[in-house]
Symmetry: D2
Subunit: 485 residues, 4 copies
């Protein structure tokens, strides 16, 4: 299976098409903005090769019978889906970060099941091609991402009504051996440092939008693809501080969104063998639905653990400050735990109450996983309020590690940042930096990823609620029969 | 199995020890305050005898191999526990009410498992006695309640420190053939209209509180027991209006708390064969924990459906008012559905992620079911806000059915309460009464039942959260090792 | 000025057109449903005649120079408006109830200013007529209500599009000496027990809806008017229990909504001298706006004090239970105080930052008083959650006073409901009943009164927010000038 | 009065004792971390010298009769205090930032009134000295900050019990001409770039803590004082991007916390004439109370406008995206406006309902301004949730200005980030950066400044609530008299 060295040498060997802060990153492995993200991928590879964690990190492929990385595994059972949730939660405790590979897993599952349905109904050969592709991914242990979100232009307009028809990625030329696509996928979490990418539509499409109904796999280094890195506040920290430094907070990984790209497709050729949907617009709805269900479920794994890490840091800081017996501190840490479990609960329920698609892929209950995700959004802001109150002002105004290490300042900081005797000031600085790295970071607002906005959850919950059935119950109890005489 | 007629004749034959509004209820089946509650019990008996519902209402006893009422069934597996949640949810849709029997079920499960543990450890014979008792309950299909909550006197004092030692029910005399107990159990949901009652301690007890560590079963008509009915706002409606009338809202059942009693034990004899704990104070903690886990889980079944009934009524009223396409109405109904699922999700998860006690009883995950219950408390008030805004002022100011039926007023009310053409004013009155029966009723504040107050959930969540483990994760990511040098 | 005896003899002398529970109330002063409401009016009359309270209860009329009841006073200055808020707050502490007369005050102020504007612009003579009317009200110290809310039929339709044109009150016949009106005003808080009523439109009207643009005063006993009383849960308590009994909770007044009526106008004649708007549809917007601003402000007076009463009761109960030092109890009482002040603050600000209309009437800032009202709605449900958690289960399941007074039960209840030594059980029962009378009563959902629903506040806040101005500030700071090149 | 040039030359002439990122900042005016903060000070100086704004920016000193900067003005009336609130709100719209000078204003007012009280009671001469000092500040138009917050060490311990007695700033040596102080003030918003600083205690002190009861003024460049700059996420942006660049978001000021320092007093001499409290521990309570009241009030000025800026940016972005008619967008912007007003309302009320201290200083109502501040904390997180949902993913993943200006990328970004035709992509980038600069910045968690944490407000609200009075009202209504028989 893929190991750290192979991965780094792959990255170094890539023809660069990644831009960071206005410049092409000649060697992504040396770029300060990309390094933390690469470290996260590497950590996950390390864990996968550690026999101690093989139960959680690996799974037996139903396609090949071989052990494969769980990120590339297809969820063929309730147990698989519950395990996936635990996998995501586990990795959060080991990295304190988004591990960036969930979208790929979601897409592998969604496309496997949709290509099956298409072939059965339409007599196409997508599923066979896709099975072959998945085997390749599993066997070569590739890092696979997924690009769904288009830039979308004028929001209320359909793709074919947009002032620029490329606001949603589309086929601009049909060839005998493939297609040429053009467009731009936004917020691409892993594209700059992965092997392969699955591209799928982000909207339910109509008959007159067939050129948008395209799904395919592609090498992220393909001619015509450009990755422009995000530039958020945490990235700037990565430029200013060294990885491994106290100022990273989460000292090795720093940030969960170190690697989001604007991914441009400037007339890119896709060969037929990597195309898995080609005009079948009527399958965009189930594709997006199944992808989203997986995506929202996964958030129910990592988000609670992110809050648990805040609890852990809050507990440590309270002990260091002599506040761990204070009732309002204990209350707030308890409320944080409630918030964590209130996300985890519906996600677990969604995994247990999922359903099996014709292909055998087992997908989460959509209402419950959207409930989990919506609760994650609400809980995120509430959690930050609580931890900020537990921690106090140094989450904003801690001096830098360079100050701490400056001999002219070191003793002062050691003296004045100390609290409970015996705890070095450095511990206190570290804890504040760690809390900053989560609660003050771009993660604060990054709840749009992994299953969409608050409003997207509302739309799903509305769609999945059986209002008419509930009405029947109420009318019957109220003695209204028939409904209208 | 027990049928409606048997049950009513049992109630009529009981020696009355039930007081309602200051008077002894000579025939409880004719008492306007108790009638709605009896109707709920009867509805559940009807459903249990309907083959269409046998799958949800009945289960095979692992003790006798016979089909028994699910309320008397012991949960020996994950499936049993999930089924129990569905059972509770189903009954809510059929009655719009608390079915009053959960506490009994909780106690049967908790005592079965605790007596097993005690016997194994202490060599007592409680479990055998209890198995015999359960078989009797199952075979004769008895209505069994449970009295846990003592009146508790001065809250921060231990039972043995109270100004009145009877503030917690206790043994006041030991006899060779049994014990005499004295005390008072509050908020007893079904005691006035059940067959049997299980009495258990409500506090974790210490060595010097052995006389409080008593668990037993008792016939609710036993000499020395008095049931004084609650008198809440909905009860008054039951006095003023006829069951089956529009003003009941939920026309047959009216209220979920029609039958809560203050249950007084004025030196009551309990024979040895019905005693299942007698001084083993060290088992009060697991007993209360297992009982509470079951109780909180059950709320995760009924509460979401109570909100779903509000959604159904809100949907109906919106259609009757021409408002069902209005965005703020749709949003509010959707938010209600989110609230419902946010309670149901952690409860389902608690059922799936439970654990098996040595006796074989499968109990819910305590952290997750307490999360569900706490979310239920929060959601309850939020749900009322939303439905009150959807419904508008007539939830408070609807005239009575007697007005509507008065010929001098009928045509005016028909004319002016009408909305969308074709919908009779009566439908609109009924829907308002139905929403009133839930959102304006004592149920609004009844979240203390079925697993305790908001604060009780906080205490559990604090106790069940592994703060030190979370701390370890955070410290490791922040580079703090060892914790203190 | 009006005293209690005059008022009672006026009520007894009225030709009855009030229906309660399906029957005509021959003497409203003896009707158990109406009695608590009448007691509230009487309490306010008592306070007004008590020299100790003349500063808050009375004010000098700018029309007559005489002292008048503050309910009939026109707010001609900032001080008047702040005083009005204090007046409403003060009465809440004395009655624990809605005093039912605010809508009248709101309408007096709104009509005074609008008739002035109409006369200036249109040359009509409404204002002179209205000044004469106000002097009559002030001099004879009349109880005046206001009927704004029509039944409204199909919600999204305009009055003239409704399936029944009478869904909004309208002129059905023009006569030389007046008009005949038909319609129905809903949720009329004081109509059954007042002297006079001001009727105004409840919707902003268009040119083709002139017959709806009618404002007038009328004697509530006029031929053709019928008042059908609401029937809510608290009313039933009033039927079952005696006023002055413990079960009333708030022993004299019991409920703030004892007296809401459906008020039917079955072709009622209104003489010209009592008509203050007659077709001037373009003045419906400012009329409703000014009325609503006053109405929402008034809620900022009574609602906080309602929460303060819950705090006071919670404090008492905590002391009686030995819980007043418990941190979570203190926290919850503190949170209640925050909620109270968070309503009061914006209301006070609205009073201080009001503006003067051409007539001299000083009206509150509409954005701030709508903010207060919306916060009142949110806070109401949150407050109930908190107090229910502070109080515990007996807010639902307290036996009746009749049980407590039954010799067979009295000693048991005295013994078992006691808590801290020296506090009689009766105190504890009283406190629970008092908390029930607010937190479990129809008041819980009555936030639609006094300025409209949650959604109504949203609509105002949207309308009163200067989005374009805010945008300009943001664009300027972001360096976007001009906005679009 | 002070102008920009004078101020810059003062800063350049300062002997540097400011450390940034581990190095001494030789010229603070050229330091990228400090520059945005200096620009804010300058902007305020520009506004003060602009006749158009003299009404809001200047006020007549009651000490000198001359026009002075409002930051140095003492609030001697209700009007002064309301004006101060408007001043703070106005500056937020002009800078989008904390203007850093409020703490100084708060301290000037608090010390003026406390020194007056001390002199009256104790016969000291602090007030005369302080009046002289204030005149100097006003006449020379000095930038004055205030250091209150000590580092505090072990939280539950008193200053004199701490493992290090210097955890709270204290006198370490008494001299005939002054004192030597040692300690460390944390989170000092303007110390690195101001003229003068007022140092006051941060805890209510006891008789055995007289050496901590010290208040004085000091030149920020005094020997022995060191300022170590914070290093938060936004500072890193300031290192990476140029001021004035798009990436600053708020292009000139970037951040409201650019200049917070850890301010170390390494045995600093304070001459007698600048000492305004010296051992009078019993005045620490009113000093802190009056300071805090002012501080919390000021937040009621800037925080609402910060939300209004988010509304403005959200409105712009919605228009650029074609979403400004979407109901859920309009709802969220309206909710933001409600949040803004719900902070502003209680602050305004606190200003209007303040009280006058013996010295003539008019101070805000403490309960209402603490309510405003607590609501500000709650609203902050809620506001970020709403704006993040309105804005979408690019608040996290927008590429940098350098990417946008790279010719290889520019056209792609122009094409794909565009939305509504005619709006350049640059506008959209700018709006996202602006929203990022507020909602994703350290401001998110900086609610501890300006009046303390959430818990600090709770403590005040508890202390200022008259629980016993509220109890009396409730008992009287419930018929409980006397309270205990």
């Amino acid at each position: 299976m893929l190991n750290k060295e192979d991965y780094l040498s792959y990255l170094r060997g890539k023809k660069s098409n990644v831009y960071v802060l206005g410049k092409k990153a000649e060697d992504v492995t040396e770029d300060p903005v990309l390094k933390p993200a690469i470290s996260i991928i590497n950590k996950c590879l390390d864990l996968a090769s550690d026999p101690k964690y093989s139960n959680i990190m690996l799974e037996t492929s139903h396609l090949t019978g071989k052990k494969v990385n769980r990120f590339s595994h297809l969820t063929m059972s309730k147990e698989d889906l519950v395990k996936r949730l635990e996998h995501v939660a586990f990795l959060q405790t080991k990295t304190g970060s988004c591990t960036m590979r969930c979208a790929g897993t979601n897409a592998l599952n969604a496309l496997y099941s949709i290509t099956y349905d298409m072939d059965k109904k339409l007599g196409t050969d997508y599923h066979d091609k896709f099975v072959k592709y998945v085997k390749h991914v599993q066997d070569d242990d590739l890092i696979v991402g997924c690009g769904m979100m288009d830039v979308k232009g004028v929001r209320p307009l359909r793709p074919h009504q947009q002032p620029d028809l490329d606001f949603h990625l589309r086929i601009v030329e049909e060839r005998s051996d493939g297609v040429i696509v053009r467009g731009c996928k936004a917020h691409q979490t892993v594209s700059a440092i992965s092997h392969e990418y699955l591209i799928v539509p982000c909207k339910v499409l109509g008959e007159n939008e067939k050129e948008y109904a395209i799904a395919f796999a592609i090498d992220v280094n393909t001619e015509g693809i450009i990755h422009i890195q995000q530039h958020n506040f945490q990235d700037s920290r990565h430029v200013v501080a060294e990885q491994g430094s106290i100022d990273f907070g989460n000292i090795n990984y720093g940030s969960s969104f170190a690697c989001t790209s604007l991914m441009i497709f400037d007339d890119v050729f896709v060969p037929n063998e990597k195309i898995f949907m080609h005009g079948e617009y009527q399958y965009t709805y189930p594709l997006i639905r199944r992808f989203s269900a997986h995506a929202r479920l996964a958030e129910g794994g990592c988000r609670p653990r992110m809050i648990d890490l805040l609890i852990g840091a809050g507990q440590a800081l309270s002990e260091y400050s002599g506040l761990d017996k204070e009732s309002h501190i204990k209350d707030k840490l308890t409320q944080l735990s409630f918030l964590s479990q209130s996300i985890r609960g519906p996600a677990l329920a969604a995994a247990y109450q999922g359903s099996t698609t014709p292909s055998g892929i087992y997908i989460p209950d959509f209402l419950l996983c959207s409930t989990s995700k919506l609760q994650a959004i609400h809980a995120n802001y509430e959690a930050n309020k609580l931890i900020n109150d537990v921690a106090g002002g140094f989450i904003n105004s801690m001096p830098s590690e360079k100050d701490y290490k400056n001999p002219a300042l070191h003793d002062f900081m050691e003296k004045y940042l100390a609290r409970v005797p015996g705890v070095p000031a450095e511990n206190i600085i570290r804890i504040f930096r760690f809390i900053e790295s989560i609660s003050m970071s771009p993660v604060v607002g990054a709840l749009h990823y992994g299953g969409g906005t608050l409003e997207a959850q509302n739309v799903t919950i509305r769609g999945e609620t059986n209002f008419q059935e509930y009405k029947k119950w109420a009318l019957s109890l109220a003695g209204i029969t028939p409904e209208i005489p």
